[in-house]
Symmetry: C2
Subunit: 197 residues, 2 copies
């Protein structure tokens, strides 16, 4: 049914782990936020190249939306915009290589209408997420509630800013899974089955 | 994993059909809105009985919320509230009989913490829903867009009023499925698999 799986996920929902499990089972690559960011930096998207691409992109619709609320002078891009442009280019390049899983970075939006996508949203209840971020990322001086709230806020704002869509609204996805009640392995199994059926 | 499946669904998403397919495959009953309403009327929930149950219920938390925005005099119930009380009682009675599927009527909310639930939300894109309501319910003098918009508004308001929760917010469900892209039979298959695993 689909060639590329995109995973949007709440922080602490295990979305990245689910992406890796799915990719392993399907023997396809899994590109997460760290990889995409690293490739963007390594690929020589220096400031000039990004600025040039940015200008080109600024004429298209998606970027027009994003720019409308940027406080920069018209036609200029800030650091986050540069990274967005670079990451977008990396995502489009990686997608061309063949079937894969993307975790985060608005890949669902960037690849829409270009590829057959299985658009996934992974979420969970607050208690499960609190437990998971302590297990996976360790304790911190900031309370788990605050860490989750801030990440959620950032992701919502980032997604809204660059896509003009509401992050976590089912309408933007093919399937939304509660990893806290369904379980991480079962979420992966459902996606593997959907992808191959 | 779960004994009772609850299905919340957008009008025209095929949620009721999915409920029936799942129930058939699992050989358990499927109670939809029509059945629940009919049983409520047949079961002799006349005005007095409903009023009595209503008074009892008014002391509990869920009903306190609902009543707070009703324009009736304190302690009295309007027709919709009476039906809600009657339907709630029917849902609780039917649930006691054993494993089953409930479609609509806030069954997810009514049965929470009382049973092991598989809480499902079925939705779809506007085009698929428009096509489906014409196929299933026939043409009407009102445009498909308007029929969908009004039903969505009513369901959102009903759910919010009686549960104080946001209808269609993934956080309230275990799984949300886009029947337009996944397909109605495949949605049913996923739920059957989840219920039996």
């Amino acid at each position: 049914m689909s060639k590329i799986i995109t995973i949007s996920r709440q922080f602490g929902s295990g979305g990245r782990t689910i992406g890796k499990l799915v990719a392993e089972a399907l023997k396809i690559p899994c590109y997460d936020q760290d990889i995409i960011e690293k490739v963007a930096v390594q690929s020589g998207f220096d400031k000039n190249i990004i600025a040039e691409k940015g200008e080109y992109a600024a004429s298209s619709n998606w970027f027009g939306n994003a720019l409308s609320s940027v406080t920069n002078a018209p036609g200029t891009l800030n650091v986050q915009d540069n990274l967005w442009v670079a990451q977008r280019a990396v995502i489009l390049e990686l997608a061309q290589k063949g079937p894969c899983v993307f975790v985060g970075r608005c890949a669902d939006y960037i690849l829409q209408d270009k590829y057959a996508l299985l658009r996934t949203y992974i979420y969970s209840d607050l208690e499960s997420r609190k437990k998971r971020i302590i297990d996976v990322y360790g304790e911190s001086s900031v309370s788990p509630e605050k860490r989750l709230r801030e990440k959620d806020k950032r992701r919502t704002a980032y997604y809204r800013f660059y896509t003009d869509l509401e992050w976590g609204n089912p309408q933007n996805y093919d399937i939304c899974l509660n990893s806290g009640t369904i379980g991480i392995q079962k979420c992966a199994d459902i996606l593997i089955d959907l992808y191959t059926s």
